[in-house]
């Protein structure tokens, strides 16, 4: 009884709302959930609780992953998929940035585009695939278009909101320091919104990864999604899971890269957090 009360007190000391966690403990906690996840998976498969036909065990998955990479040229598929995501995403970002900033800064431009963009944002990118195949064939243009449709409208809207939320007192301060309307956009609105725009890019890039696989499930001859469709025909759940995990890992790495880049580019935005 005494012990359980002490434990409750200790838990209270560790789990205080919004109290930060030490960097070492953060990594340990993060890794331990991965370990737990794999452990549950291993018990379920090696223990015979799940039929091998439906779920491969971790070791088989790793082995066939190695076979995929070493013998079946899966590295090329990964490269293709990464290229498609980045290609479609970069095109979307390059067009969304200026339009989003203009919409955030100039209300008539926002009034013109915002209703349509809000509408287009809800059009499911995957539903466009049959149309895009009709328009662009089954080549790379179709894959890039899916990513573009999936990320462009989201980006525009979120960037516009961020820029439009610039603190009004900063805008007024800039005007009293002699800023013109044009330099207000370049020297106040854009630099002030930049860290949040980077966060938006990071988030939407994550969504782009889900669109690329859908695009590759239909009418593709390479890419991670294509490998997954092929494996489905062979009931190779080990390969499917390997493919999914590879996507997850690439996502994790690009996410961490983006976060690191953001911290490095905008040290001021990290202060006082």
């Amino acid at each position: 009884m005494q012990g359980s009360i002490n434990a409750a007190v200790d838990l209270g000391a560790v789990l205080k709302p919004l109290t930060p966690v030490a960097p070492g403990a953060r990594i340990a906690l993060g890794v331990s959930f991965f370990v737990l996840f794999v452990a549950v998976w291993a018990v379920a498969t090696f223990g015979g609780f799940v039929n091998k036909l439906f779920l491969a065990d971790p070791l088989t998955m790793l082995k066939s992953g190695w076979t995929l990479l070493a013998e079946m040229g899966f590295a090329k598929d990964i490269g293709m998929t990464v290229w498609r995501v980045l290609g479609g995403f970069v095109i979307a970002a390059l067009l969304a940035l200026p339009l989003g900033v203009l919409m955030g800064a100039y209300k008539p431009i926002e009034a013109f585009f915002e209703p349509f963009v809000s509408f287009a944002r809800y059009l499911p990118a995957s539903a466009f695939i049959p149309l895009l195949i009709l328009w662009a064939g089954i080549g790379e243009a179709q894959k890039l278009s899916v990513i573009f449709i999936g990320s462009f409208f989201q980006l525009v809207l979120m960037i516009a909101v961020t820029v439009g939320n610039t603190r009004r007192d900063l805008v007024e301060a800039a005007y009293t320091l002699g800023s013109s309307d044009r330099s207000l956009v370049w020297r106040v609105l854009i630099p002030g919104a930049a860290p949040e725009i980077c966060e938006i890019l990071r988030m939407v890039l994550g969504w782009a990864w889900t669109y690329v696989i859908v695009a590759e499930l239909i009418g593709a001859s390479s890419g991670i999604g294509h490998m997954i469709t092929d494996s489905q025909a062979l009931l190779a759940t080990d390969q499917i899971i390997f493919g999914i995990i590879v996507i997850g890992l690439i996502g994790l790495v690009s996410d961490m890269g983006f976060k690191w880049l953001n911290r490095w580019l905008y040290p001021w935005a990290q202060l006082g957090r």
């Binding site: 603190r167 007192d169 900063l170 007024e172 301060a173 800039a174 005007y175 009293t176 320091l177 002699g178 800023s179 013109s180 330099s183 020297r187 106040v188 630099p191 002030g192 930049a194 905008y266 040290p267 001021w268 935005a269 202060l271 006082g272």
Partner: protein, 263 residues
């Protein structure tokens, strides 16, 4: 008196949000400010003193009347009227030095000259050694000192201050008052300073004006009979206390009127 800044019959009313009658924030107000003068404006909260200042800054438009600076109508904000706000308005993505350079950069001044001017004002507000700090790394008082340096470095013809020390603790506020007064005594910029702190108004101002409860107008205008340079010690002299007593009475009447109007 040469009317460097002339405010003529300026009023401001705000449209009502629910289709009712518009609210009159500022009734027809006249004020003349001579060059190199330091005018403080006192009044209860909501009396329109900030509105008046924002109209002079060009950040708000009067409903009627006219504001002229050196004979020229004020149509919008400009670098000739520097402003220090009550809220912390340093650009968080710029260091102290870059914040102070902001206005100079807007004018396309050569970089070396910008840095030289910025450095001299950073020195004047006592922030040597903090040039490369970001605003979030500074205390409130240091942020307002940077904001003051930023406004002054731009070489404005007049300085508009909207309760700039209102968010600071009492001790920091008193030090800031001495700092600003010291700079004013050296540079003699024209200053319009809004506050609700009577001590501050008397200590800083060469003229103190009191505004009435909403709708505001200037109901009292007094020279401060205390010579410059002033040290903090003048706050206990009979002349200071006498003026403070009179202003306290006047402001109190208006605060009570404002409360009665709300009830």
């Amino acid at each position: 008196m040469n009317n460097f800044l002339s405010i003529r019959a300026v009023s401001r009313s705000f449209a009502s949000t629910h289709g009712g009658k518009p609210t009159l924030a500022l009734q027809s107000t006249d004020l003349d400010v001579a060059e190199n003068d330091f005018i403080t404006i006192l009044g209860p909260s909501g009396c329109g003193k900030s509105t008046l200042l924002r109209i002079v800054a060009g950040l708000d438009r009067q409903t009627s009347g006219e504001v002229k600076l050196d004979g020229k109508r004020i149509e919008g904000p400009g670098a000739d009227r520097g402003m220090v706000f009550q809220s912390y308005t340093l650009f968080p993505w710029l260091t102290v030095r870059e914040n102070v350079c902001f206005g100079l950069n807007e004018r396309g001044m050569a970089r070396s000259q910008q840095v030289e001017i910025a450095q001299s004002f950073i020195h004047k507000v006592g922030l040597n050694g903090f040039e490369n700090h970001f605003p979030k790394q500074l205390s409130g008082g240091m942020q307002q000192r940077t904001a003051l340096a930023r406004a002054l470095a731009n070489g404005p013809r007049m300085l508009l201050m909207d309760e700039p020390f209102g968010a600071l603790d009492h001790q920091t506020r008193e030090l800031m008052q001495e700092l600003l007064l010291g700079i004013w005594e050296a540079e003699r910029k024209t200053v319009l300073f809004v506050t609700h702190d009577i001590d501050e108004a008397v200590f800083m101002g060469s003229r103190v004006t009191v505004m009435s409860a909403r709708p505001g107008r200037i109901k009292l205008d007094r020279e401060v009979p205390i010579a410059h340079p002033r040290s903090y010690a003048v706050k206990t002299t009979p002349a200071f206390i006498a003026l403070k007593a009179e202003l306290t009475e006047q402001v109190r009447t208006e605060v009570l009127a404002a409360q009665a109007a709300m009830a």
